[in-house]
């Protein structure tokens, strides 16, 4: 209702909830006891779990209340499946790099950390004129921003970032320069494939051939 002196408008809205000023609340002691009870409940549960080795797993049982602390680096939280770690160059069946030195990745890289020196196959090789190979493939992992554009840009699934390796903190900048052989040496996270991508390779039936006239490597 309109208070005198506040004008003709009605006072609307809900009043602010203020705690009751009962003796129980004003004396503060029962509330302190309740608060201490909550504190001690957490304390007893966590101490028991800590001493008996029953702490919830920080990753699998993270929804639980309790001490979910990981003591890094002795214990590690596994990276997600799509985590972009150090690069690796994948291989064909015969062990040669899948990379055809098309320079898509080095063009797409925002940090310009990929340096490729393409080289032609020697005379007589059926792939000459259709594919190239990288004579040098250098990635500066310190400049890399781990965006994954190189992986998205590659048309041959030649470069991947699925090693799951967190970039190592070295002491000097030159230690971050990774050459082609090192990059080809890394394995993917499953470690089951060293670099094999069996799709679209001879003798796979889906191999498209070098062109519509040449099917297979030795054509």
């Amino acid at each position: 209702m309109a208070e005198p002196g506040l004008g003709p408008r009605k006072v609307v809205g809900t009043p602010t909830h203020r705690p009751a000023r009962t003796a129980r609340i004003q004396s503060y002691v029962p509330e302190v006891a309740a608060g201490v009870g909550i504190t001690l409940k957490h304390f007893f549960r966590n101490t028991k779990e800590m001493v008996l080795g029953q702490r919830p797993d920080p990753v699998i049982e993270s929804v639980n209340e309790g001490v979910n602390t990981l003591s890094y680096p002795e214990q590690r939280r596994p990276y997600p499946e799509r985590f972009r770690g150090l690069h690796r160059l994948t291989r064909r069946r015969d062990g040669s790099p899948r990379c055809v030195a098309c320079l898509c990745c080095s063009t797409a890289c925002p940090a310009q950390c990929i340096h490729i020196e393409p080289a032609e196959y020697p005379e007589g090789d059926p792939r000459r004129g259709y594919e190239r190979y990288p004579a040098r493939f250098v990635i500066d992992e310190l400049r890399c921003i781990f965006c994954g554009f190189c992986v998205e840009a590659c048309p041959c699934d030649a470069i991947r970032m699925d090693t799951g390796i967190h970039p190592t903190p070295y002491d000097s900048r030159d230690q971050f320069i990774y050459e082609r052989d090192l990059l080809m040496g890394f394995v993917g996270r499953d470690a089951s494939q060293q670099g094999d991508n069996p799709r679209h390779e001879p003798p796979d039936p889906t191999y498209p051939g070098l062109d519509r006239h040449h099917h297979g490597h030795d054509d």
Binding site: L40, H42, F43
Partner: protein, 592 residues
Amino acid sequence: MTSFAIFIMLLKAGAVVLFPLVLSAVLTWADRRQGAMTQDRVGPNRAVVFVPTRWAQAAVVLPAVLAVALFLWWVVASKGVQGPERTRQAAFCSHLAILALWTTALGVAGHVRRFGAHNDLDRAVARVGDPRQFVYYGMGLHAVAALVQVWLRGTSEGRFLREFGVSSGPALLALAVLGGAAYTALVLGRQDRVGVRLVGLLHVVADGIKSAFKEDLIPPKSDRLLHGLAPLIVMFPVLGLLGVVPFGDALCLETENGSIAGIAATVTNESFCSQGVVVPLQVLDLDIGILFYFALGGTGVVGAALAGWSSDNKFSLLGGLRAAGQMVSYEVTLGLTIIGALMIYGTLRIDQMVMWQAENAWGIVVQPVGFVLFFAAAIAEAKRIPFDLPEGESEIVAGYFTEYSGLKFAMFYVSEYVAVVASSGLMAALFFGGWHVPFVDREGLNLVLGDLAVFSAPLSHPVVVAIGVLAFVLKILALCWLQLAVRWTLPRFRYDQLMALGWRKLLPASLGNIAVTAVVVLAIQGAGVQVDRGLRALGDLTELGVAVVGVVLVCWLVRYWLQPAVHQKLEVTSSAKYARAAGGTRTARMGT
């Protein structure tokens, strides 16, 4: 004074000074680690000292061997006892052996479950299944042993079993303890160096050593004398606060031809130590007792104010003024709250107060409001959270000890915890019966309800005194821990709220407490014998209540710890799938 008396007094003074210092280190650890537990985190656990494996193995095996040797020496020395004393010894040895056996088995089972089985013993233990089984078997064995003792009392089979208990009990105990030590040494031997963490206690040690080596910065334009004097004024008086608090019942020393022979073996309730030398477990024998405590406690105001003034820092000055005002205000309440208890006990000497509580009822029963007020005022006196505005960490840097570093800062910090220990000691002595344990008197354990003697187990005099001292220390620990729990729970009071609480709430409440207590005391004194007897019965009932509460607490604790932990799994993310494939995130363990 004789040299013996001087020696005893120095010993007691040293113990009474060392006790709060050591306890303040432990409380610092508790504040960090256990406070972290209340916040669902681990707390500082990185301080580690790497010791060679041989040293760690020796540190485990040698104390075990020593303890077993001492126990066996005691058994052999008391070989010639007969009668009911022998039965008690047999029962004690057998129960101790059973305890050692199942605790060792439990330890091994827990270790095997966490780290896998490496040898045949591990595999045998793992075959039992859940380590909790060992707890149940152990408790069952304890019950069986107790039943057998009661059932076969006085028979020839009972006597045979008694001999069996006296002879094989210590042997089994030695086997269990030494076996456990050997197993631990074996486990340690698998590592090439052992990281000793002591659950984080090394952090406190490291902090103490670090503070001694830090540079002692003195503000250039400060008053150097006062700046150096303030920590001393704060630190040294609080160390003497526990000098008037009795840590246990007086010790009775036997004399032979005028010289001290040793501690009396047994004493009686009626004539306590009529032929011996009485050594009270209290440093100072003052008639003013508790006034000494308040006199020393008041010096903290001067120290805090001096620290704030001499630091040449406006924030320090603010902190010092706040500290002085706060401490003065709450000292008034502290003193007035005690008056109710003084009226009931009728003495200023704390040891006589403890005797009154031992004969009647604990102080918390007769002065509950007084205890609550004293507790709040004691926390405020020590400037602990929620009354820590003088040190308000987030507001005025560190308040009155901002400009202190190194050892001087450590002295302020330690004196705060020593004040916590001292006030807990006083509260334990005043309100929780001090060293008194329900139903334990000078002759031993006597479960007597009114006129009905239910159970009695005579104990030797040193054991009774040791039980009293242990109980007092446990009560102090519990009260310190309660102060810590209040610190973990409550936010800080604003300064005007703090002063209003002191002057407008606690002071009138304590005056009201005095008035009500005076009326009740006069009424009881004027009433007849019936009321007196009724109150004595009530006092005995409270003693029984305390004992029952203690037993229930222990049972609840055991049941709580035996419960398995139920955790809800959530494996939605690919990280969780990887973790599940690896068998859990915590494959490594950091160590104790």
